[in-house]
Chain length 151, copies 4
């Protein structure tokens, strides 16, 4: 689904990954940006033992961290690296167990103004049509760059 | 604040920690149960470099994982170790930056029925009167023990 | 956007409206069902002075009531009239002011199991591509029909 | 529970009601302000046939409207009538059926800054210790008074 209001990205997938890696040590960035579109961005994470909870499925906190990071990357893709967003609210509904392996998060921006950004993140096992989790995320965009992102 | 409906715990803090450690390898349990009360439970986590985001404050995903784990422990404290809850929804509002160091999560059960549990988790730096984050968490309690918890 | 998992409706738009009117006095049903699809349903409401807040835009409670009702109707469309759902949670993000006039709510089911239903509701002024509000709604489907719906 | 950060109200209950009535025709204000405290405010609503859903309990939309209005009044009580807040997000968990009669909403501010306010609203039948519904509500405080409130 395209963003509803013709949002135009200013960075492509590779550029967003470069921003991401400049902010974090490589070992802490388990995310790969798949695609950037108008108001959209998708991210892949390979989930293994480290991301598992007992039962062999992806843990809830892993999915929440993925949603948070994906939304930050989508905002960065549309505003540029200097516009540092701070998460103000994240709500996740856990719909089904998410099996280990490749997991894909798909962001849709619903609002992007000077002060705030809001979007949805749908997370599913790669290739699965049914989302395992669905999040709504709200960001505050500080008046001046603060150097902080909520990852 | 006591739970609103006279919830009675069946495990104490040490017993909840024992359940927690039986489910996870020691290295994965950064949480210490401080106190269990009627419909309440408080948990402490020491947050350092590993839990930091750029800027030197506790990361959002760390706070969400703490809220999720605290709520699971509170449900276990009131139902017993065999009643394995699955997180169905978690919403967190991020209110202020949370400095590194000891962080305390305080759970209040608002509902505990055979099928569902719902509660709030207020998170603050130890000694601070102002919450850094506030979560509402909903759990589903499966009809039969599934051996799964959402940590 | 189609529902992600091939949900199949069992009632059409006219039948859902009939169910709706059987549950409520006509004067209390300001909703018109536009379309029912696989995992989807759209509802129209004409918002005038009664639904306005100062400033001449649609009030927040009007939008929340519309989201709640639309989701109930979507569940009824997919399970049938006897399966009475009870709202367990509704979260709405208000994105832009919604002008008075015809307002359209579009439901997407994300989960529909024997016990629970979860979906999103996007609300916009008729003809506007940008949503004025976006909701996530969770329902509990009682084991036995209770005759209650949360309208 | 007192507000966590020593919020100081600038209006008392009668003054908040005066502001409320100046904004709305009397017939549209079913709320009575019971008490204003530091970061807190409680509101009463008499719920009868008009607020009922089939089954004879208070409807969900009535409870959401009450939560929204209560939070607005609490912000007005602490900032003054000129600071018009706009609801940006409301999440309500419905915990138990709420019987018709007097219903009380209790607001606790968790954050009040120049730009945003966030608080919780617990709603219960008068005299009942168990909440029927619990909401988290976020407001944006516009840079300049806009004359709009989200009622």
């Amino acid at each position: 689904m395209a963003g509803p209001a013709g949002f135009t990205p200013v960075l492509d997938a590779a550029e967003v990954e470069t921003v991401l890696r400049s902010m974090f040590p490589v070992s802490d960035v388990p995310y790969r940006v798949i695609e950037v579109g108008e108001g959209t961005l998708s991210v892949s994470q390979l989930c293994g033992r480290r991301e598992a909870r007992p039962g062999g499925v992806v843990s809830g906190p892993t999915l929440m961290a993925l949603a948070d990071a994906s939304m930050v990357m989508c905002v960065v893709a549309h505003i540029g690296p200097e516009a540092m967003a701070v998460t103000t609210s994240l709500k996740m509904d856990f719909l089904t167990m998410c099996p280990l392996g490749e997991v894909v998060a798909s962001v849709n921006l619903l609002k992007l103004s000077r002060r705030t950004a809001m979007g949805t993140v749908s997370i599913a096992a790669a290739g699965s049509p049914a989302p395992a989790a669905f999040a709504t995320v709200t960001y505050s965009i500080p008046p001046t760059p603060s150097g902080l992102v909520n990852l």
